[in-house]
């Protein structure tokens, strides 16, 4: 049972609360749900950060997009720059939960909850995003890969506040996609997901970043899969080899949602579809956001 909730009006106030042992709450989606399900009781002391306007901004420059920690999935997925240049991130944000979840849930909350099934982790990892963590003592920047430490764990200290996620804009000729296996068309959680970010120059793949979601204890890139694609022309055989390499790199679990063998098999399929869509986008072909609606045979 929580003893107190303070509402911070400034980042400094929030940091002071964190230093005093409070935990931050933004949209509350994961935190409150977790407490109600008995996974983890609400912390004794909470600091509400939802009013911190500076954490709600999307700042765009010619080289990067900086997404404040309080930017909701919905705002992120509706941002023109994110859709155009960081399409995989738009794909991911557009398929989290329902509209209400996407409206309330924040990128910062999603990241700091560090679920291996989180949708945004793969795209952020592949785009080479970094986070700014701030404490009363100062700020530091960490790559997403350095932030995520395992299921439900990050490397952030308890007095550090996630301020923003900076995502460098990929070069021209880049296309990206996040896809996941979906039992239902909405209200899903990743059972197997894949991100592909590919850059084409003169028809050749000059860069590829591929990551898996819900296929290993933490979201991670698959170097072998990337290597299989780089230097290729994105032809079916290269895609197939990359998808197989992705699956080979996976260490899926068996749980109530799927068996490990099914997950591994789906890594190949979903990985291939994500890569195909990313390549199509890199070539300037239109694939809707979110890609999931079109990738799995579509419906309507």
């Amino acid at each position: 049972m929580s003893a107190s909730l303070a509402t911070a009006s400034t980042v400094e106030q929030a940091l002071a609360q964190l230093a005093a042992g409070a935990r931050p709450v933004a949209g509350g989606t994961d935190l409150v749900v977790g407490a109600r399900q008995g996974k983890a009781p609400l912390p004794e002391r909470l600091v509400a950060i939802h009013r911190l306007a500076e954490l709600s901004e999307i700042r765009e420059s010619s080289t990067e997009v900086a997404l404040g920690a309080l930017v909701s999935h919905r705002r992120c997925s509706e941002s023109g720059t994110v859709r155009d240049r960081l399409t995989a991130l738009a794909d991911a944000c557009a398929i989290v939960g329902s509209i209400a979840t996407r409206t309330t849930g924040t990128l910062g909350g999603n990241l700091m909850n560090a679920s291996p099934a989180m949708e945004t982790g793969g795209p952020l990892l592949c785009f080479g995003a970094s986070v700014t963590l701030r404490s009363a003592a100062g700020s530091r920047s960490l790559g997403i890969d350095e932030l995520l430490a395992g299921p439900g764990r990050t490397t952030a200290a308890s007095d550090e506040l996630l301020e923003a996620v900076s995502v460098p804009l990929p070069p021209a000729g880049t296309g990206s996609c996040y896809a996941r296996l979906e039992y239902r068309r909405q209200m899903e959680i990743a059972i197997a997901g894949a991100t592909a970010v590919v850059t084409l120059a003169n028809g050749e793949v000059t860069d590829a970043r591929i990551a898996m979601t819900a296929l290993s204890p933490a979201i991670g890139r698959a170097g072998e899969a990337e290597a299989a694609l780089i230097g290729s022309g994105g032809e079916p055989d290269a895609i197939r080899r990359a998808a197989q390499a992705l699956a080979a790199a996976a260490s899926p679990i068996s749980d109530v949602r799927a068996s490990a063998s099914y997950r591994r098999a789906m890594a190949v399929v979903i990985g291939r579809r994500a890569i195909e869509a990313a390549l199509a986008r890199a070539r300037g072909e239109w694939v809707p956001v979110p890609a999931s609606t079109a990738l799995h045979g579509g419906v309507r």
Binding site: M1, S2, A3, S4, L5, T7, V25, G27, G28, T29, V32, V33, A35, R36, Q37, L42, L46, A48, H50, G97, S98, I99, A100, T101, T103, T104, R185, Q186, M187, R300
Partner: protein, 160 residues
């Protein structure tokens, strides 16, 4: 230890005494006494508890009440003046979109928000917008029809 707070619900400021960990749903049901929003699950999965917060739908079961201070909360009770029905509410009744009614408050909230965002939603948009609200009775068809008919009715009304 309960704390004092003021929640602005359906246009009325209501002073409440609530525990800091209470969800908005619990505060509105137990402290304010508006029971239109329902509790159907523990985890933002059913949508029966939905309210509008500054016009946007939230699962109030998963939102802390204290965070809703200074924001405009709309529950199903606030969708029309007392004794009246909104066009959407009437449409639900005419289309047989209400059976047991337990999901109805949340459905109306989601649909109200949708129709504010989009004047002329496609069936697909309506279905996506309502996907966070589970209904076990209707199979959704009548609800989707009711929302589409409301949009069509408004479009017809706005023709000069």
């Amino acid at each position: 230890m309960k704390v004092e707070a003021i929640l602005r619900i359906n246009g009325v400021a209501v002073p409440v005494e609530i525990e800091p960990h209470w969800s908005l749903l619990r505060a509105v049901r137990d402290a304010v006494g508006l029971t239109g929003a329902k509790e159907g699950c523990d985890d933002s999965e059913c949508g029966a508890c939905m309210m509008l917060l500054d016009g946007e739908p939230v699962n109030s079961c998963s939102y802390l009440a204290l965070q809703a201070q200074d924001r405009e909360i709309t529950t199903v009770e606030g969708l029309a003046a007392p004794g009246e029905l909104s066009d959407l509410q009437s449409s639900f009744l005419e289309h047989g979109a209400v059976q047991c009614g337990f999901c109805t408050p949340g459905m109306l909230i989601s649909a109200t928000a949708l129709l504010r965002r989009t004047q002329d939603p496609s069936e697909e948009e309506v279905r996506i917008a309502l996907a966070g609200n589970l209904c076990r009775c209707t199979g959704y068809g009548a609800i989707v029809d009711a929302v589409l008919a409301t949009a069509a009715g408004r479009a017809a009304d706005s023709v000069p």
